[in-house]
Symmetry: C2
Subunit: 226 residues, 2 copies
């Protein structure tokens, strides 16, 4: 199979509207379940399942099983860039600022459901691990005793609930884990409460406020190079 045949095969996958909707729904780096994607694609779950199988088979998507759900995400940043480049050609409005609306901002810091992702989310996970407050494994995560104290002190004690307490969530743009679960949500909420971060309109990107810059640096030793 030649280069060109392979390229045509990939392009043919992108050429179906349902698959295109699936891929663009994942463009912001979230991982979504098969059912959510079938809704986004406007097709039945069976049809979506077939599409998802082909997309993962071609290594455009990566799948992770979690309980009875299967979460799909873009397999690589290159895939997102490819989609953006096609949109650049297809779009009637060529010159959006930058390569993509808010693309860079999304990569810096964004929400993933209710917790933090992007460079900020990953840095937060790194910091907590380095301090020995949490320990992330492939299939879950644990909070140490010192971590419990730290969280109470920080004001990010997760409320009780049935949802998983702490688990890693692979970050699309960084290819490294950030923290999800009740703990991830509590951390994000506390950062919002403190005014360290602010949501943006019509986007999952979040901005780091001046207060956040010093707060993340002081508490977590995080300094994101701009």
């Amino acid at each position: 199979m030649s280069d060109i045949t392979r390229m045509a095969a990939v392009a043919a996958l992108l050429g179906d509207p349902a698959r295109a909707r699936i891929l663009t729904a994942l463009l912001d780096g979230r991982a979504l379940t098969a059912k959510e994607l079938s809704f986004a694609a406007h097709v039945s779950p069976q049809t979506a399942s077939g599409h998802l199988a082909r997309l993962t088979g071609a290594a455009l998507l990566a799948a992770e099983k979690q309980g009875r759900h299967r979460y799909f995400r873009l397999a690589a940043p290159l895939v997102g860039q490819m989609l953006e480049s096609i949109m650049a050609v297809a779009g009637p409005e060529p010159p959006r600022t930058g390569t993509w609306r808010g693309g860079e901002a999304l990569r810096t810091a964004r929400t993933c459901y209710d917790h933090l992702a992007g460079r900020l989310g990953v840095a937060l996970a790194d910091s907590l691990q380095a301090a020995g407050h949490v320990a992330l494994a492939a299939d879950g995560g644990e909070v140490t005793d010192s971590g419990m104290i730290f969280l109470r002190d920080f004001g990010a004690e997760p409320p009780p609930g049935k949802r998983v307490y702490c688990r890693p969530c692979l970050d699309w743009s960084e290819r490294r884990p950030h923290i999800a679960g009740r703990l991830g949500a509590a951390l994000a909420n506390r950062c919002l409460e403190l005014g360290w971060i602010a949501r943006q309109r019509d986007s999952r990107a979040v901005t780091i406020t001046p207060g956040g810059e010093s707060g993340f640096a002081g508490r977590f030793g995080i300094r994101l190079d701009r």
Copy 2:
């Protein structure tokens, strides 16, 4: 029609092997006739005609009529970049140096049929025009008296023949014209003869030799920033 639908439509165009072959055949910036493209695509001229109509309709290709031929070329550099980005995802060998094999070299200097294109080819055309040796218009080009003298002196007097003497050829990567026709061929041949440029194996890229650096600078005032 939404963004996503448009993107899927473009991707679907790229998804057919025949059309993919047509586009990649044009990737180096040449303009080819419908028949040549039908051969490159491994389909009959009728079939290729249909594909070409759809590709130009979607503004992926641009067509120019010339006598009884129609020359097709990529409509914009963005189209080439899109193809490269898809190849980057589709390719089994992910990390080629740079974005594409020899892409940068091709943009610097390459052959287009038998004449020079790329930054070098455009600079050559600019220099000859600035000196009043040639005058390029949209549909053709003329050589002045001083140009005739200059060419004889340089040793690039085109041999007689039926082929058009001098015409502009729109450069893909530069979006500006370089010189084609018997004159373009004679210039390229003379530069090769002088050892100013050298062909590369398995590529239309040409390298500028040290002698060429000083030669192009001295005779034409050309200095290509690396």
